[in-house]
């Protein structure tokens, strides 16, 4: 197990270097000069342009810039934003809890609805119920997030006025962040109604961000269950006279869960990509919105730093998923 873990960690290093090169070079391939953007339509003189480029270190060869950047990262310095002049890591850790809170809620939403839906669809294969669930899942999977989000806002916030339109909590409540998780902070704050407000602000973004993972998990659970249900040992279990609940819940589900867990792990990447759009629609102050703003401003250090941190998170989550296999299925002990 330890050997396996070390092996996986060793693979992470070249992956991380690869990601850093891609993050560093691809944004520089995009047309658009961050220095010129600082002055907008108001034209910067070539002399001033040269001075500012030199201050930011953009006048050096790209390889030197890259090595300098990596050297900074090794010392824990991800640089500062060209636009806001804030250290990248500081902004990242200030904003990440918002993204994390939303992602956790969305993935829980997807799991809690998706797995039972998939199981039922598998058991009642070919029924009206099965077809409805799978049809809905397909629609959910194909829905453009941006459109889906606006649609929900117009219906639930605009017409019905059941949920707030955007943000993390009503502006009436204001307390210093302790954990960065609004649900927890609102409880800590002790202000009446704050938790309810935070929770109601989470509903629509959770649904929007959770829709695609929900569809994927439901479909994956269904197909994994179908496969397992036709296995010999399930037939044996049934023949032994075990109750259907026990056959499905213990014998079948445990094995069916392996591909489902892989899928859930992969959804973390989908989640972070989806967060970019979801956060933009719901004015959710997380890293997705932060990255989008930075792309428009060509704020290289933020995009690079943000990409690297996101890549690191995805790699760590995948590692955890690999380790989880062993726990679920003792036959896979690395």
């Amino acid at each position: 197990m330890v050997r396996f873990l070390l092996g996986r960690l060793a693979v992470l290093i070249p992956t991380f270097i690869g990601v850093s090169i891609i993050a560093f070079s691809f944004i520089r391939l995009l047309p658009g000069d961050p220095v010129a953007l600082l002055s907008g339509e108001r034209v910067m003189s070539p002399e001033r342009h040269a001075i500012i480029s030199a201050q930011l270190g953009f006048d050096r060869p790209i390889v030197v810039q890259y090595l300098d950047y990596i050297w900074g990262i090794l010392r824990g310095d991800f640089g500062t934003s060209i636009v806001t002049k804030q250290p990248i890591l500081e902004s990242f850790f200030a904003l990440f809890p918002a993204t994390l809170e939303l992602s956790i809620c969305a993935i829980l939403f997807a799991i809690i609805l998706g797995i039972p839906a998939g199981i039922f669809a598998a058991i009642k294969r070919g029924s009206f119920f099965d077809q409805t669930i799978m049809g809905t899942a397909l629609v959910g999977y194909s829905m453009p997030i941006f459109w889906w989000g606006l649609l929900l806002i117009i219906l639930f916030s605009g017409i019905l006025q059941w949920t707030p339109v955007s943000g993390r909590i009503s502006l009436l409540y204001f307390f210093p962040p302790v954990t960065g998780f609004m649900l927890i902070d609102s409880l800590i704050s002790g202000q009446a109604g704050a938790f309810k407000s935070a929770a109601s602000h989470l509903i629509l973004p959770t649904i929007v961000l959770g829709t695609i993972p929900l569809a994927v998990i439901a479909r994956q659970t269904r197909s994994a269950m179908l496969e397992v249900l036709s296995e010999d040992y399930v037939r044996t279990a049934r023949a032994k006279g075990l109750s259907p609940l026990r056959v499905i819940g213990v014998h079948a589900l445990r094995n069916a869960m392996i591909p489902v867990i892989t899928t859930i792990g992969l959804q973390v990447g989908v989640m972070l990509a989806g967060a970019i759009l979801t956060e933009t629609i719901f004015s959710w102050p997380g890293i997705g919105k932060w990255m989008v703003d930075s792309v428009f401003r060509r704020d290289y250090p933020v995009i690079q730093g943000g990409l690297l941190m996101i890549a690191a998170i995805i790699m760590v989550v995948n590692l955890i998923v690999d380790l989880l296999y062993g726990l679920i299925n003792p036959r896979i002990r690395h």
């Binding site: 658009g32 600082l38 605009g158 102050p285």
Partner: protein
């Protein structure tokens, strides 16, 4: 134990802060996050709304709803006979804000004014580079480094600016956000504590609102400055709820989650007007959208060709399609709200037949040209691609074949400056300081070729008029000169003038006292909420 203490402290702070929440709170659904809180360092209107117009004042201020200046922190000023010296007399008894991060011990004086300017112009000032990579873009952009010879303290309450040359727009520039006056005492305290960067995070000035907190990308909180020299505001708290998507801003406004929003989608404006809970203010914006020919390249070096193409464009159709009516066709290079706008100028009338004939007479046949369409929406041009397509079909009617090109925004701005650039560029401008010089000289002066003068147009007669107007401090004389310059501009047609857009501001019915700024700023002093 430590954890418990922090928790208790947080609880205590939270309780204190929540006390203020029940007061009269005005919420502005702002369109984006501020880049920072030092207005000198940035150029975006979003940043100025959040920092300059709330927390700070300037020596002179723009009179509400106009582009004229009025006394701000300077109660009066004198201009020397040669026009090279401006002496500002400061208002007495102006208090800097008292916040939980700073308590001032003295009132505003000349040291604060000198500090606020010197840090931008003097490379040896310890605050010149207080933020790594920070630069004073507007200060440079308005030409201050080459204009100001020195700033002297005459006495505690008097400051004298010496200029290197006569420049009438100087007074308007002094009222711009980048020229906000900061507290030297606060800066000294930050410097002593080794936390200079806080100046850009926790602003402190003399303005109507004082800074409380910024939750990154979510909200900015202010409260009314109880010591404001102009009197305390009627609202107690001001909140900027950062909401980047215009459709979402509209939903928030409808739901009562905010009181006022900037930049609605053109398509939503009709619905907003018919909503009984909302009022919609409309005003002509201080802007122009234009199509700049490269007047140094054939056949656009010929006036007749430019005139003919100008006549071929159906501007009303563009205004209808792109702005759904929320704009007016433009005939002059400056907007109608600006002083010296020459209404006597006749626009080139839309007449494809005549245009076709003019092109034939000029010997132009089977012309193929490029029209550049901006990749972004700006207040003066919401959809350049659509406008370019309409021009393409207009030009086709006079036998000119158009290829539409576009580049990434920064690339677009850069490439369109090139002297040997081909075709005609769609671009525009929003005024900085309300002075006609900021359009006519900045965009069409000979010095601006290779820069803001995208038409690469240098006309001696026009340039002389504009330069003369810049140096005169007699407004009546300046008006006359600018009016003449507009006549020459129209005769020479270096641009097709396309439109001036309306600035549309939807708000809740209960909002009173909001006055739109022709400069496009959102300032909330004087605003109130009816019960």
């Amino acid at each position: 134990m430590l954890k418990k203490m922090t928790f208790a402290a947080a609880l205590a702070t939270a309780t204190i802060l929540s006390g203020a929440a029940s007061a009269k709170t005005f919420v502005f659904c702002s369109e984006g996050s501020p880049e920072g809180f030092d207005p000198g360092l940035y150029t975006a209107g979003t940043t100025f709304d959040a920092a300059a117009h709330t927390v700070y004042n300037r020596l002179l201020e723009f009179k509400k709803g106009t582009t004229e200046t009025e006394p701000g922190l300077a109660e009066s000023y004198e201009t020397s006979a040669d026009g090279l010296e401006y002496t500002f007399k400061l208002r007495s008894g102006v208090k800097f804000q008292t916040t939980d991060y700073f308590t001032p011990t003295r009132d505003l004086n000349a040291d604060d004014v000198i500090f606020s300017y010197d840090r931008q112009m003097n490379k040896d000032n310890p605050w010149n580079q207080y933020i790594a990579g920070g630069s004073w873009e507007y200060f440079a952009g308005m030409g201050f480094p080459d204009l100001i010879a020195s700033i002297e303290k005459v006495d505690d309450m008097t400051v004298k600016f010496k200029l290197k040359r006569k420049e009438a727009p100087f007074l308007a520039n002094v009222a711009m956000p980048f020229a906000s006056i900061m507290s030297k005492e606060y800066a000294d305290k930050l410097e002593a504590a080794g936390t200079k960067e806080k100046l850009n995070q926790q602003p402190l000035g003399t303005g109507p609102f004082q800074f409380v907190a910024y939750q990154q990308d979510a909200a900015i909180r202010y409260k009314a400055n109880p010591d404001y020299w102009g009197g305390k505001q009627k609202i107690d708290d001001l909140v900027f709820a950062i909401t980047t998507d215009a459709a979402v801003r509209y939903q928030k406004l409808q739901a009562g989650e905010c009181h006022l929003m900037p930049y609605p989608n053109a398509a939503d404006v009709q619905a907003m007007k018919s909503n009984p809970a909302l009022t919609v203010q409309e005003q002509e914006g201080l802007n122009i959208a234009y199509v700049a020919f490269n007047t140094t390249q054939a056949p656009f070096d010929k006036v007749e060709v430019r005139k003919a193409l100008s006549m071929a464009v159906n501007k009303q159709a563009i205004v209808d399609a792109v702005f759904q009516g929320a704009a007016t066709p433009a005939k002059n290079p400056i907007p109608p709200t600006m002083w010296s706008y020459n209404d006597a100028v006749q626009d080139d009338t839309y007449d494809p037949e005549a245009a076709k004939k003019m092109l034939e007479d000029a010997g132009v046949k089977d012309l193929s040209m490029k029209v550049w369409a901006m990749p972004v929406a700006r207040p003066y041009m919401l959809n350049a691609r659509r406008a370019a397509e309409l021009m393409q079909s207009d030009f086709a009617k006079v036998g000119v074949n158009v290829e539409i090109v576009s580049y990434e925004w920064a690339e677009y701005l850069e490439r369109s400056k090139a002297k040997d650039r081909d075709g005609a560029v769609i671009l525009g401008w929003t005024g900085d300081n309300g002075d006609p010089d900021n359009f006519l000289d900045t965009l069409l002066g000979c010095d601006a070729i290779g820069g803001n003068n995208r038409a690469q147009w240098c006309n001696k007669e026009f340039d002389d008029l504009v330069t003369k107007a810049k140096e005169s401090s007699d407004q009546a004389e300046r008006t006359k000169l600018y009016e003449q310059a507009q006549v020459i501009f129209k005769k020479e047609a270096p641009w097709i003038t396309v439109d001036h857009s309306l600035s549309v501001v939807p708000m809740r019915k209960e909002v009173t006292g909001f006055v739109q700024s022709p400069l496009g700023d959102f300032a909330f002093d004087g605003v109130d909420l009816a019960e």
